[in-house]
């Protein structure tokens, strides 16, 4: 991999969209007056796992949340540039964020099952998405896909909050896939979990990527190596005249390239553990 960042940008932006699932075009995101991340160009391939890595405060979670307009919920959050999905700019005023989130699901950092039964946790999303099939079957299939069926099958009518942390997180994954989204966003899904639960969720991800495009934010580099096909490295730099740091995309490539032969020195430093 010798191409510089700028070449990569131009090559990726000129490509046809047949194999590109989502594309960020010069995206900058700010909270009020504070700019969190600037000038991101990124093409996310279809049917792959893409990981966002980088030190804390580099804006990787912010970028992820921008992909299904989750940042709308944060007052004062504003995005410039374009996020293309299905040929449309998700931030066009005529886009309905609810439709966006129905097609781009999300799993959050902290497991957040609804205070409902396990069954209802799954069925809720499906129902509001207008699911017309057999609900029992969908619940079972989703829980199986998320590798949590065996633990849940006898207590479907129990509260989702009665499960352990790792099980809750897999329930949340099941909840996300029950609505059959095209993309699943995962925001540090294992950060609150123990190593065994983490491993199970990574196995789940390997299963899922056959059917879904997955984008995962992780601060665990081994996890990125284990699960991701593509990796984007974000970093933050102090800006002149500004008080905080602003995040930017340093490098984006195949995971192998990022970890074994990165083009940028700062990537090399980060993946070899020299900072961050």
């Amino acid at each position: 991999m010798t191409s510089s960042l700028s070449q990569q940008r131009s090559s990726s932006t000129t490509k046809g969209s047949s194999d590109i699932c989502m594309s960020l075009q010069n995206v900058s995101i700010s909270y009020g007056n504070f700019e969190a991340v600037r000038n991101v160009f990124l093409d996310i391939p279809d049917g792959r796992v893409t990981a966002f890595i980088g030190p804390s405060g580099c804006g990787k979670s912010t970028v992820l949340r921008a992909l299904n307009r989750m940042n709308d919920l944060i007052p004062g959050c504003h995005l410039k540039g374009q996020v293309l999905f299905d040929g449309q700019d998700l931030y066009h005023p005529r886009i309905d964020p609810v439709e966006v989130r129905r097609r781009i699901g999300m799993v959050f950092q902290k497991p957040n099952p609804f205070p409902k039964t396990i069954y209802e946790n799954i069925a809720f999303g499906a129902r509001i998405n207008g699911y017309r099939g057999d609900m029992d079957e969908l619940v079972e299939r989703s829980l199986r896909k998320a590798a949590v069926w065996d633990e849940c099958k006898d207590k479907l009518q129990h509260s989702g909050l009665a499960l352990s942390g790792g099980q809750q997180q897999r329930l949340c994954i099941a909840r996300a896939i029950a609505t059959e989204p095209e993309v699943i966003l995962m925001d540090e899904p294992c950060s609150a979990l123990d190593p065994i639960s983490t491993l199970k969720i990574e196995e789940t991800m390997h299963e899922l990527k056959r059917n879904y495009t997955i984008i995962i934010v992780t601060h665990n580099m081994q996890q990125a190596v284990r699960v991701a096909d593509m990796t984007a490295f974000f970093n933050a730099e102090a800006v002149e005249g500004g008080s905080g740091k602003v995040g930017y995309l340093v490098e984006y490539s195949e995971t192998e390239e990022i970890f074994n032969a990165p083009a940028q020195q700062s990537t090399q430093d980060y993946v070899s553990g020299r900072f961050g």
């Binding site: 989750m70 919920l73 007052p75 699901g105």
Partner: protein
């Protein structure tokens, strides 16, 4: 003070005499103990006052309890001349006015709480509405009563007359509105309990974790889908607790109700007719009563206490037992 005291000095014996208090003097220990006992005594005053209230009211009510027994609850005679007393009108009025006012205030209060927590309007406006509702709670009951007599009641009378014309065939709207009555009392109670319901619902909604909201939006609900399916259920126990507290408050509310309810001693099903509540009966008659009438009023006060006590304890139980652990 003795220089050497083997019982208390286990440290710094040889240390510099500059630290004269290195061995705690007995006075300091006594102060420590005394302060603790003082706070304990004053804290137990709460329990003592509570028991004293119960005892005083019970003691005062004994004569009437012996004379009228449980008949007091279901008879509506209030006849100082023949010394016959029954509190049915007041008990009925207390229950009807408080429950009907809650029926109006709960949707209004919870709706307002949603409106000012769920990011529907700019945060400045939200804070302003919240502040105004809180200030509404601070307006004295007697001022609301004054306002109810001179402003609210004349203003709503045409509406009440219309209700009478439309629904006059039912016993609940059978009488013509003539000023003070149950209906204006209910409305002023709505004004009084609204801030409680709004404030408690707002706190409950604010405590729903952001993760839960994100989870709901993440599977593609609309804003109101998330509110009804996830946010309200997560907050429901606190909201119900707040509603029960408001019910207790409505039952015991005195001044504004007294000023506008009409204080009738006769039973009337019609909401447009004058009515009475236990609290307003107490406010009206206590100052001028004597003999067994005082005892009958104490008996009514005891009933009011038991009602509000039950409701308040239930409220606490609801909040503790039904609260979801999210």
């Amino acid at each position: 003070m003795p220089a050497h005291h083997p019982m208390t000095s286990d440290q710094g014996l040889s240390a510099d005499a500059l630290f004269t208090l290195r061995r705690r003097p007995t006075s300091e220990k006594l102060l420590d103990l005394g302060f603790r006992q003082l706070t304990l005594t004053l804290a137990s005053l709460v329990a003592i006052v509570l028991l004293a209230i119960l005892f005083t009211v019970f003691q005062g009510a004994r004569e009437a309890m012996a004379s009228f027994g449980l008949r007091f609850l279901v008879t509506s005679a209030w006849d100082p001349v023949n010394e016959q007393y029954g509190a049915f009108v007041a008990i009925y009025g207390t229950l009807v006015s408080s429950i009907l006012s809650l029926a109006i205030a709960v949707p209004l209060g919870v709706g307002t709480a949603i409106f000012i927590t769920e990011d529907l309007i700019p945060s400045r406006l939200r804070e302003l509405i919240g502040l105004m509702v809180e200030l509404l709670a601070a307006i004295p009951s007697v001022v609301l009563g004054l306002w109810a007599i001179f402003v609210m009641e004349p203003a709503i009378r045409p509406t009440l007359e219309l209700l009478h014309q439309l629904l006059g065939w039912t016993p609940f709207f059978a009488s013509t509105p003539q000023g003070p009555g149950m209906a204006p009392a209910i409305l002023i109670l709505v004004v009084m309990v609204l801030p409680i319901i709004t404030a408690i619902s707002r706190d409950a909604l604010n405590q729903v974790p952001i993760e839960l909201r994100q989870g709901a939006y993440g599977v593609g609900t609309t804003r109101w889908g998330a509110i009804f399916a996830v946010i309200l259920p997560a907050a429901i126990s606190s909201i119900i607790g707040g509603v029960m507290l408001a019910l207790g408050r409505a039952m015991g509310e005195t001044m504004a109700v007294t000023m506008i309810i009409g204080n009738s001693l006769n039973f009337d099903l019609s909401l447009l007719a004058p009515g009475n509540t236990i609290a307003s009966m107490l406010a009206n008659q206590f100052g001028e009563a004597d003999g067994i009438q005082v005892s009958a009023l104490m008996y009514a006060a005891l009933i009011l206490m038991l009602l509000t006590f039950t409701v308040n304890v239930l409220a606490q139980w609801v909040v503790r037992r039904l609260s979801l652990k999210y």
